[in-house]
């Protein structure tokens, strides 16, 4: 029996090794000289990796090891990071330094930590050129991995790809029945990858580890990059929207973005890294990048068959019941935002049927909606749209007779609206797509479908 480790007093976080065999990737980490923490990622019915793709596969697997380490690193946030494989090239080290710093910014804020200057992945002194030259083409099959989250965004992406006749697979990591139900509803082939956190992490938590939000989209992205090479896909199309790039708040001079790994900066870095280190013909993008949350909810409002299956609620029920209350807690910022953003685009009785209640006619929800509107409060730490979008949606509802007597709409009209400039509240500008995205030519037709 060794003495129990004290996570917050650890000195070194070590990337010990990673390996892959028979559909299972093993990612191994450790603190100081403590026990190994072994995470396993299981790829179902995995084919053998062709010899010509071996190099690309190894590169993707290494990146997964580096990125997935964030879940463990954060338990102790020790001052030093060690890599058993030796230092990284600049491009890779930049990606990881940025991911660990920005992806853990909310975690740091919540725990009163400052990670600036603390995160430094070892880099090789002779700046290797790999960051500048493209990797070779692997002639991957022209089909797309579309990660499904159970919420509306990925369903909009799926339907857009289906409409242009694109070949796609609905993929998800973990065993959420909500996501499984949504994935099945898409009618696409499905791929369910399992991620088993190292059991030692739970033990560390019990021993008082730091805990909080990690950039899980980055981990999932790295898993899908491995999957793309393994199964043969030329593209990974996430459904991250425009506002994911916006900071949630600024804290002691640092931008804190709850969803940094869903933002454009990370998308660009990872996409370029894949082109230079894995395969020049593996595209990583977000199909919804040009769109605001409101534009996406408008597109989703046409997808009636998903209404009784989806949920964006972050309570993340692992077991689903048949009632709306089993999918929508009605209390969290996600429930508030999705309700508000869908309201302008759906007949009121239909919307209320989805949620099983009217959140905007409930005075006790005032604080939650105020936070969305950035009235009296900063933006909550959830993947929700910008305050201005929420205000535009609220304003639109306040002009609709079927909504304007509801408690919180009436309150908005009497209390908040007089303080706002109506000129900035129009819905229409939010429905215009921007031109900023990295969607590959093959999938660009899908953008037109979304609107």
């Amino acid at each position: 029996m060794t003495n129990p480790i004290q996570p917050r007093l650890t000195q070194v976080f070590r990337f010990v090794r990673c390996s892959y065999a028979d559909g299972v990737a093993e990612l191994v980490y450790a603190f100081d000289q403590g026990e190994e923490l072994i995470e396993r990622v299981r790829f179902p019915a995995a084919p053998a990796v062709p010899a010509e793709n071996k190099h690309a596969f190894e590169a993707a697997l290494k990146l997964l090891h580096l990125i997935a380490g964030v879940s463990y690193y954060k338990a102790g946030v020790p001052p030093k990071i060690e890599l058993a494989d030796g230092p990284l090239d600049d491009c890779t080290a930049n990606l990881l330094d940025a991911l660990y710093l920005h992806g853990l910014a909310e975690f740091a804020y919540r725990n009163g930590l400052d990670l600036r200057g603390r995160i430094a992945f070892p880099r090789s002194s002779e700046g290797r050129g790999e960051g500048d030259t493209l990797a070779k083409a692997l002639h991957l099959p022209k089909r797309t991995l579309v990660p499904i989250g159970g919420g509306k965004d990925s369903l909009v992406a799926v339907e857009a790809i289906k409409q242009i006749g694109g070949e796609a697979t609905a993929v998800w990591v973990g065993n959420s029945p909500l996501i499984a139900a949504c994935a099945e509803r898409t009618g696409l082939p499905t791929l369910n990858i399992q991620r088993e956190l190292a059991p030692g992490l739970f033990e560390l938590n019990r021993l008082g580890a730091w805990n909080g939000h990690i950039p899980v989209t980055a981990v999932n992205s790295a898993i899908l990059a491995v999957a793309a090479i393994l199964y043969g896909y030329d593209s990974i199309a996430f459904a991250n929207e425009r506002s994911a790039s916006a900071a949630t708040l600024e804290y002691e001079g640092q931008q804190v973005n709850h969803q940094w790994s869903k933002g454009y900066a990370f998308e660009q870095m990872l996409s370029e890294w894949l082109h230079t280190h894995v395969a020049v013909d593996l595209d990583y993008c977000s199909l919804l990048r040009p769109y605001s949350e409101l534009a996406i909810t408008r597109a989703f409002a046409k997808l009636t068959p998903y209404f009784d299956a989806f949920s964006s609620c972050n309570r993340n029920f692992k077991i689903l019941g048949p009632k709306p209350a089993d999918r929508w807690c009605g209390q969290c910022p996600k429930c508030h935002f999705v309700f508000l953003a869908l309201a302008p685009f759906l007949p009121k009785p239909r919307l209320l049927g989805i949620f099983g209640r009217n959140l905007l006619d409930d005075e006790t929800q005032a604080a939650g909606f105020d936070a969305l509107l950035e009235y009296h409060d900063h933006k909550p730490f959830e993947c929700v749209g910008e305050g201005a979008e929420a205000r535009a949606a609220m304003y639109a509802l306040s002009q609709r007779p079927e909504w304007q007597e509801d408690a919180l709409i009436a309150r908005f009209r009497s209390e908040i609206l007089p303080q706002l400039d109506v000129a900035g509240l129009a819905l229409e500008p939010w429905l215009q797509p921007s031109s900023e995205h990295r969607v590959p030519a093959r999938l660009q037709a899908a953008l037109a479908v979304i609107g």
Binding site: Q331, K348, E405
Partner: protein
């Protein structure tokens, strides 16, 4: 012809109409069943007319064929439909009868032609009519072949659709009406042809000779039309359930079969939610006074529901409670409506204009609120937005949804209002948007938020029974519960109880010695404990000792390996004095003073907190300790919606929105949250509730790294009324196992109390005297609320028996009361018991939990002694 055929019928023999639905005519065994039933009715000396639906799935297939524009695919579809019938004939070992052959040929021709010749709607009606035409032809062949000579009748030759004002071409052809009055000539015509007939449901013919459909519920309606035309002795609807129930059995397992209803009540129940019968099918029978009987095809021995004109004199009773979901309310507010001619007419014209049909209406001088049913038009178009815009020009309008209408049905509703006070109080806690009572006095409807309905309806049903508003004691009207007829769970068998069987004489002897006495039966405690130990998902069970702290019970449960949950230093001390050191202890107080925590932390007990205050103000007391956090999942997680207006109506638990603040305080004082605890309430008989709590606790725990176990509390229900289903422990295990699979890294704890000890204890007392007062008879016993306060405090129902006269007939109706000077000292009201005599030993069952521990010296009467049966 078989030789044992019954004697031929006279021309004046009366008719029985029997209707069978799609699943009843889809297989050979079902047809054999029909044959038996028809033969038995014929043997009663009646002519029989069988009305059938299409084979199950065929009507849908025909509809799809109608929607198919491609001729080739239509022909394919017709072939597939024909094949279904060939297959069934194959099972029957019958050749294709000529009548069916002709139908199939016609269907093929219709598929080939498409709608062009007849017109879209008329063609569709004729295509869809083939489902019934084919099934009846097939049935005629089968019944005749099996020795029951059966004539095929074309329903279109008997049922003439009438043209009504307001009908468009679509409703004229696809949901037609027939005026069915007794028609002696039809009766005479058919009587000449034979004794057993088969015809089609769902179809009729209109004045131009075109085939029309009767719309939803059409086959039942056909049966009623025939019942009226032939002035039948009765119409029998054979379906998959024994009749109408006091509530939707899917919502209320204890719903009772309604054995007798009048037409109006039945129609009201059907209109407000019951699916077994379409409401329109009763009206044809009302005038000719033909009774309808609903029967279960699979269980023909069950009585079923008789709907007829006769209402023998009964005490007024609520017959059913139903709920309709998905309603949208439009509330219109304006001073302009007051005494203004035409205001409402203008308002309602907007509803008509936007194609929205109004159902319930409630009005005040300045407000009119109406309900809209969930139609496609409402859900998928801009109709509501457009309506609101128009209405906003003349009044303030508010759209309220999703709502549900809860309706109590019963003849003479107003005369029952006084019995409904408890029920009405329940509504007092909710947002009630509209109340409606029609002048026919058949119903009372409350429109509430839809989210409360699933939990509210079962509770109201129970309250209606308990309040004597739904008189389930009248066995002429109310049959067995759905649970008893169809449920899987075991029901409480009255003969089972230990006090009724093996210990009866011992209890009598104890009672004759001295009363009042509590008697506890340890084998029952052990049995319950072992039952719970079969919950393999539960890692640790704690007995909630507040239910009963008798040392013998504590010892017995310690031997069974239970831990102990205590809520006060007193309980902890009592437990520690009795159980071995190894038994785990929990200390879960509520609003306990600081010194209680200080002391509890000096013991081995695991301590729970359920508010911020102790850490805010006495943080040092807890420094470095591990604690359990008790949360109130309350409304935060979408549950307990009943307390919505009360919001924080319960003093227990930390509200979920304070959890983050709690964790910060815990961190600041070096306190580790090792467990999360939530408690639902008590008396819960539905296994799914624990799964929900467990699931919600687990999702909350994921935000807190240090949590190692989840305590989902107790509250395992113990049924009290005979016939109520017991908690299904195997089903509970299944529910828990599923959640555990999703969160394997948390240990699962439970803390049952009442479940372990309630049935193990009885209170025995002796009869002291009787008193008559008007029609009321009081039976006095020698103890009351001083010994057992649950009936007074919670309206709890305890079974009461006269142990001295256990086998005598229960002919008297007593109010069983104690000697305490409180009008609430009633142990049981309206109890059917044998005529009692002074000195008889009475037994009050299920008194093992919250009995002695809640007793008091009030009135300074002697306390009940406690006796243990090993």
């Amino acid at each position: 012809m078989t030789s044992n055929a019954p004697a031929p019928l006279s021309s004046g023999a009366s008719w029985i109409v029997m209707k069978f639905g799609g699943t009843s005519v889809a297989t050979l065994p079902r047809w054999q069943n029909i044959r038996e039933l028809v033969a038995s009715r014929r043997a009663e000396g009646a002519r029989v007319l069988v009305v059938v639906s299409a084979l199950t799935g065929i009507t849908d297939a025909l509809k799809q064929m109608c929607a198919q524009e491609d001729k080739g695919k239509r022909i394919e579809a017709a072939k597939a439909i024909a094949q279904r019938h060939y297959d069934l004939l194959g099972h029957m070992q019958l050749a294709v009868p000529e009548t069916l052959g002709a139908r199939l040929a016609e269907l093929a021709k219709l598929a080939e032609e498409g709608p062009a010749m007849l017109g879209e709607l008329a063609w569709a009606a004729l295509v869809q009519a083939h489902g019934e035409l084919m099934s009846s032809a097939l049935g005629a062949a089968f019944l005749t072949h099996s020795g029951l000579s059966t004539q095929w009748v074309d329903a279109r030759d008997c049922l003439a659709a009438v043209a009504l004002p307001n009908q468009n071409e679509r409703t004229k052809l696809l949901s037609a009406m027939v005026e069915a009055k007794p028609d002696p000539s039809l009766n005479a015509r058919l009587s000449q042809q034979g004794e057993v007939f088969i015809t089609q449901g769902f179809i009729a013919r209109e004045s131009q000779g075109r085939t029309v459909l009767l719309g939803r519920g059409g086959s039942d309606t056909s049966a009623s039309y025939f019942g009226a035309l032939l002035k039948a002795q009765r119409v029998e609807i054979w379906t998959d359930v024994a009749g109408m129930f006091t509530a939707n059995p899917r919502q209320v397992q204890g719903a009772r079969l309604l054995q007798k209803l009048d037409y109006e009540e039945a129609q009201e129940i059907a209109s407000t939610g019951a699916k077994v019968l379409h409401p329109r099918c009763l009206s044809p029978l009302r005038e000719p006074r033909v009774p309808m009987l609903i029967k279960d095809t699979n269980r023909p021995e069950l009585e079923g529901t008789v709907i007829g004109p006769e209402v023998r004199e009964h005490a007024p009773s609520v017959k059913a409670i139903s709920a309709r979901k998905g309603l949208t309310l439009v509330s219109m507010e304006s001073v302009g409506m007051w005494q203004q001619v035409g205001f409402l007419a203008d308002v309602f014209s907007h509803f008509k204009q936007h194609g929205l049909s109004v159902d319930l209406i409630g009005s005040a001088e300045t407000n009119v609120t109406v309900s809209l049913d969930p139609t496609e038009n409402l859900l998928d178009s801009d109709a509501v937005a457009a309506l609101a815009s128009d209405l906003a020009k003349v009044c303030r309008v508010k759209i309220i949804a999703p709502c549900a209408a809860i309706t109590l049905v019963g003849r003479g509703m107003r005369s029952m209002l006084h019995t409904l006070s408890g029920v009405l109080a329940e509504f007092g806690q909710l947002r009630v948007h509209l109340i409606s009572q029609s002048s026919n006095n058949l119903n009372l409807t409350f429109v509430v938020d839809e989210s409360v309905v699933d939990e509210l309806v079962p509770r109201l049903h129970e309250m209606l029974v308990a309040a004597g508003a739904l008189r389930t004691d009248d066995s002429a009207l109310f049959g067995p519960s759905w649970q008893t007829l169809y449920g899987s769970g075991e029901t409480v068998a009255a003969g089972d109880a230990w006090w009724r069987t093996q210990c009866r004489d011992q209890l009598l002897a104890l009672g004759e010695q001295a009363t009042p006495r509590y008697v506890y039966h340890l084998p029952t405690v052990r049995k319950q404990a072992r039952e719970l130990k079969t919950l393999a998902s539960v890692d640790r069970l704690h007995y909630a000792v507040k239910a009963n702290t008798h040392p013998a019970i504590l010892r017995a449960l310690a031997e069974e390996g239970f831990g102990f949950e205590c809520v006060s230093p007193g309980e902890l001390k009592a437990v520690m004095a009795t159980v071995p050191e190894s038994a785990p202890l929990l200390f879960t107080p509520n609003f306990a003073p600081r010194e209680d925590y200080v002391w509890a932390l000096s013991t081995r007990a695991t301590v729970s907190l359920d508010s911020l205050y102790p850490l805010e103000h006495w943080g040092e007391v807890f420094r470095g300790r591990e604690i359990v956090l008790r949360v109130d999942l309350g409304r935060g997680l979408g549950h307990h919606e009943k307390v919505r207006t009360g919001g924080s109506g319960s003093k227990f638990g930390l509200p979920v929105e304070h959890v983050d603040a709690f964790l910060r305080l815990a961190d600041a004082h070096g306190v580790t949250v090792r467990g999360l605890h939530a408690h639902l309430g008590s008396g819960i008989l539905d296994d799914k509730h624990w799964g929900e709590v467990y699931n919600q606790l687990a999702s909350l725990a994921e935000r807190i790294g240090s949590v190692a176990f989840l305590d989902i509390g107790g509250g395992l229900g113990v049924p009290s009324h005979p016939g109520e289903a017991q908690l299904d422990i195997a089903a509970l295990e299944e529910v828990l196992r599923k959640v555990k699979g999703a969160y394997p890294h948390y240990q699962l704890w439970m803390e049952p109390g009442r479940y372990l000890v309630a049935d193990a204890g009885v209170l025995i007392t002796r009869v002291t005297q009787q008193k008559g007062k008007g029609s009321w008879r009081y039976l006095g016993v020698d103890t009351g609320m001083n010994s057992l306060i649950r009936p007074a405090l919670y309206d709890a129902w305890h079974e009461i028996v006269n142990l001295t006269r256990l086998d005598e007939p229960a002919t008297a109706l007593y109010q069983v009361v104690g000697p305490i000077c409180e009008s609430g000292d009633v142990i049981g009201s309206d109890r059917r018991l044998p005529e009692a005599k002074e000195g008889d030993v009475m037994l009050i069952a299920q008194a093992g939990a919250y009995g002695k521990v809640m007793s008091s010296p009030y009135n300074l009467r002697d306390e009940a002694e406690e006796i243990i049966i090993e």
